[in-house]
């Protein structure tokens, strides 16, 4: 996990005092994790973009109107908003997420691979797609904990409370999620390539 010089709570304080730069830093710092949380649920890039904006409209409204609870952590709070909006979207539409092809990804997602050849880029994209599919194939209870801990940055204690299980059960589900993922990655030869997984 990354450590930052200025903590999220310090940035929030600055933002409450009118610093838009602090807000820019907060948004930039966490945009991928929050966007990924939404995307994993809706599996549609454009819809995920819309829901990300909706999420932050709620964040801005809450903080600027003085209703933000200082006691909670910023990232778990925002990702919970994002998660709820994504789930609400399907409740309102009265349907479950449909599989959308990966060609909906936008040009900005390719920028990080700009130094790679087209072939390398394709391999990485394929690997990322495969990993996303492997996560989607996990049993619901394991995927839920994995999403909450890894992308929503909730502690195991918080996950246990939200999902109404003991902390040992939450930890056990995470453990099995990681074991299952590793097994499937090994089986499908998603190699632990040092270029892909720098140590």
């Amino acid at each position: 996990m990354r450590k930052y010089e200025v903590s999220d709570s310090q940035l929030i304080s600055l933002y409450k005092n009118g610093s838009e730069d602090a807000f820019t830093e907060l948004v930039t710092r966490h945009k991928n994790k929050i966007f990924t949380t939404i995307y994993m649920i809706v599996k549609d890039h454009d819809l995920a973009e819309d829901l990300l904006q909706e999420t932050y409209v709620k964040v801005v409204n809450t903080v600027k109107s003085g209703r933000y609870n200082e006691e909670g952590k910023f990232l778990p709070w925002v990702t919970r908003i994002a998660h709820n909006l994504a789930i609400d979207h399907f409740r309102k539409a009265k349907r479950y997420p449909t599989i959308v092809l990966e060609d909906g990804s936008n040009v900005f997602n390719s920028l990080e691979f700009s130094e790679d050849s087209i072939e390398d880029r394709q391999i990485k994209e394929d690997t990322h797609t495969l990993l996303r599919e492997l996560i989607q194939e996990l049993p619901d209870s394991q995927r839920e904990v994995l999403m909450m801990r890894h992308y929503m940055q909730m502690s195991f204690q918080e996950i246990a409370e939200v999902t109404d299980v003991s902390i040992n059960t939450a930890l056990g589900r995470m453990r099995y999620a990681l074991i299952n993922l590793r097994k499937r990655m090994d089986k499908l030869n998603v190699a632990y390539d040092k270029n892909l997984y720098p140590e």
Partner: protein, 81 residues
């Protein structure tokens, strides 16, 4: 199953790789991993799997981020309507 020197459970290792162990536990686990190859391998495998999870992160468009930042900057305008 792991044959560990001390009383670390698999759940302890999960808490460790997600930095939810206390400083004292960290030292115990790190020390044990020096002497217990199996434990070290298990920790490395967990870390690699977790690193792979970061790879699936997606990036939103600049346009969306701009809209979010603009909304914040103009909040006073639209909230006073």
């Amino acid at each position: 199953m792991l044959r560990m020197i001390k009383t670390f459970t698999q759940n302890d290792l999960i808490r460790f790789v997600y930095q939810e162990t206390h400083a004292e536990e960290n030292i115990e686990i790190e020390t044990a991993a020096i002497f217990d190859e199996e434990l070290a391998d298990e920790l490395n495998a967990l870390k690699r799997t977790i690193s792979a999870l970061d790879l699936v992160e997606r990036t939103p468009s600049f346009k969306s981020i701009d809209k979010i930042l603009s909304y914040s900057k103009s909040y006073d305008l639209h909230s006073s309507k």
